[in-house]
């Protein structure tokens, strides 16, 4: 005997269509970084405001995609290129099925900029 009753269920995972799309986000990040930093030189006075502007611009672009129930974190690092060594690492304790991260690095002859976006599904 089968029951055709629809029990109300709380969604704890995004459906395939609702999942965060890293490649789409990566293209958006690439566009923002290139637009803001193409041809710019590292300057001590301007770089602090550039990092903030880029972080906000990337976050706003990702908000435009309207991923449902996703929280978004964007981290931007801009450094001067002087031959120094830099290493960046990250670890996440989250739900691998629904949460994603994507990162993009832009560099020219005087600076490098890494933007990383994390998308965390809210239960």
């Amino acid at each position: 005997m089968t029951e055709n009753k629809e029990t109300p269920a709380y969604q704890v995972q995004p459906t395939f269509r609702q999942k965060f799309k890293p490649m789409q986000a990566r293209e958006a990040m690439e566009a923002v970084l290139k637009e803001k930093l193409q041809g710019q030189q590292y300057s001590v006075e301007q770089v602090p405001s550039w990092t903030r502007d880029i972080a906000d611009a990337v976050k706003n672009k990702l908000k435009e995609f309207e991923y449902d129930r996703y929280k978004i974190i964007v981290q931007v690092v801009i450094g001067e290129l002087r031959g120094e060594g830099v290493k960046m690492a990250c670890r996440c304790f989250w739900d691998e099925n629904s949460d994603k991260h994507v990162s993009f690095t832009f560099s020219n002859d005087s600076l490098f900029c890494t933007a990383t976006a994390f998308a965390v599904y809210h239960y």
């Binding site: 929280k71 974190i73 690092v77 990250c90």
Partner: protein, 110 residues
């Protein structure tokens, strides 16, 4: 609806434990290109384990940047779209004689 402050992200205790982790991994080390990969991984791994040990209902994102001190400048910024009453972040900066280490923890409530 009462605001539940117990469920909020508490940055201070996390800052102390992250600082201890970074200090214990780097202590007096000199920047070494071959080891820096191992250091960053160890820092983020140990921090994540400690955070999970707090047994709070949070998802965590830990990042660490280590840069050699050559006089070059570095800036970081973060922009977040979340619920500021429950989510938060903590940043810890540790300077040694030969390098800068910046560790960031983002905590997102379940």
């Amino acid at each position: 609806m009462d605001v539940d402050t117990e469920g909020a992200f508490v940055a201070d205790e996390i800052k102390t434990s992250v600082k201890e982790t970074v200090d214990s991994v780097l202590h007096d080390a000199v920047y070494d290109h071959d080891k820096v990969s191992q250091w960053t991984n160890q820092i983020v791994e140990d921090c994540t384990k400690k955070l999970v040990g707090l047994q709070k209902p949070f998802k965590y994102i830990v990042t660490c940047v280590i840069m050699q001190r050559t006089g070059a400048g570095i800036h970081t910024a973060a922009s977040c779209f979340w619920d500021s009453s429950s989510d938060g972040y903590a940043v810890v900066r540790v300077d040694t004689k030969s390098m800068y280490a910046i560790a960031t923890v983002f905590g997102v409530a379940l």
